[in-house]
């Protein structure tokens, strides 16, 4: 499963906010850390606000704050905001349909395992895995 750049940016952002739930974190701080434009990040964050995962606070000292339940929010909950996971293989020409169906069945099996895993990993567990309640390390996002 290959995640889009926006999805990864959303996951990194959620982890940043969830690691410091009592703070209002400026979007510019996240943008700078992950080398993204504030404009691009704003679109991602607005989706997270709509999903009530983070809340935005305007004005001096404002920013974004985590308002989700880190022990219940899973990676999949965030990913589905940005990815269409219902994609199927395109319809094949008729002579290849049996082959296509067999291949699609294997790919579906793989996707189901991936979805079950992503649906079982909570933000709290991932923060625990990272090994601290501090800041996630910045990673280069794909171009």
């Amino acid at each position: 499963m290959k995640l889009q750049k926006n999805t990864l940016l959303a996951l990194y952002s959620v982890l940043e906010f969830a690691a410091r739930p009592d703070e209002h974190i400026p979007a510019s701080e996240i943008a700078e850390k992950y080398g993204e434009s504030a404009h691009h990040l704003a679109k991602v964050l607005s989706e997270l606000v709509r999903a009530r995962i983070v809340a935005s606070v305007r004005g001096v000292g404002g920013g974004y704050r985590f308002i989700g339940n880190a022990r219940r929010l899973t990676l999949l909950n965030v990913i589905v905001l940005f990815e269409d996971l219902a994609q199927e293989l395109p319809e094949p020409p008729p002579p290849a349909s049996a082959t296509h169906n067999a291949l699609a069945s294997v790919l579906r099996e793989i996707d189901q395992i991936a979805l079950a895993t992503l649906g079982a990993v909570t933000i709290a567990t991932l923060l625990k895995d990272i090994g601290r309640v501090g800041r996630p390390q910045a990673a280069a996002l794909p171009e």
Partner: protein, 149 residues
């Protein structure tokens, strides 16, 4: 046992008294050394349980501890009860000389999977596989059963 049966019925919606009596005979009454039936109590009432056993060379794997069932009353969750049950079971397995704890869950049960992952469990070396073996006449019913899972 009635408390465990009631707890399971609350969580699963199925009342399985006969099944639990068999489990109790195997893991409770006759549990010796490597079989464990643990219950957690709060103010004198059962609020959770865990059942496990050390098994040798199942599926070709060296001896390890298997967790067969664990549950906590919904009203007692997020208070560390499940973690303490799992921790106690792991400690008992450790004392019996094994260094791996395994379990299996329904692939769609993200709640219990989230719990296991929060406790440090990850995908392991065993991969569960299954197939429908219903007679052709029952195949349609088998497909329907699978769709309901």
């Amino acid at each position: 046992m009635p408390a465990v049966v009631a707890l399971d019925a609350t969580v699963t919606g199925l009342h399985k008294a006969a099944y639990w009596q068999r489990v109790y005979r195997r893991y409770g009454v006759n549990g010796q050394g490597q079989r464990h039936f643990l219950v957690a109590e709060h103010e004198g009432r059962v609020c959770g349980f865990a059942i496990g056993e050390v098994r040798d060379w199942e599926f070709g794997a060296p001896p390890c501890g298997w967790l067969f069932a664990i549950d906590v009353m919904p009203s007692a969750r997020q208070a560390g009860v499940g973690g303490r049950l799992l921790g106690e079971l792991a400690e008992r397995f450790r004392r019996e000389g094994v260094d791996t704890l395994r379990t299996m869950t329904a692939s769609g049960n993200s709640l219990i999977q989230s719990f296991f992952r929060s406790q440090g469990m990850r995908a392991g070396h065993l991969l569960p596989l299954e197939m429908d073996i219903a007679a052709p006449a029952d195949a349609e019913a088998a497909v329907a059963r699978k769709a309901r899972r």
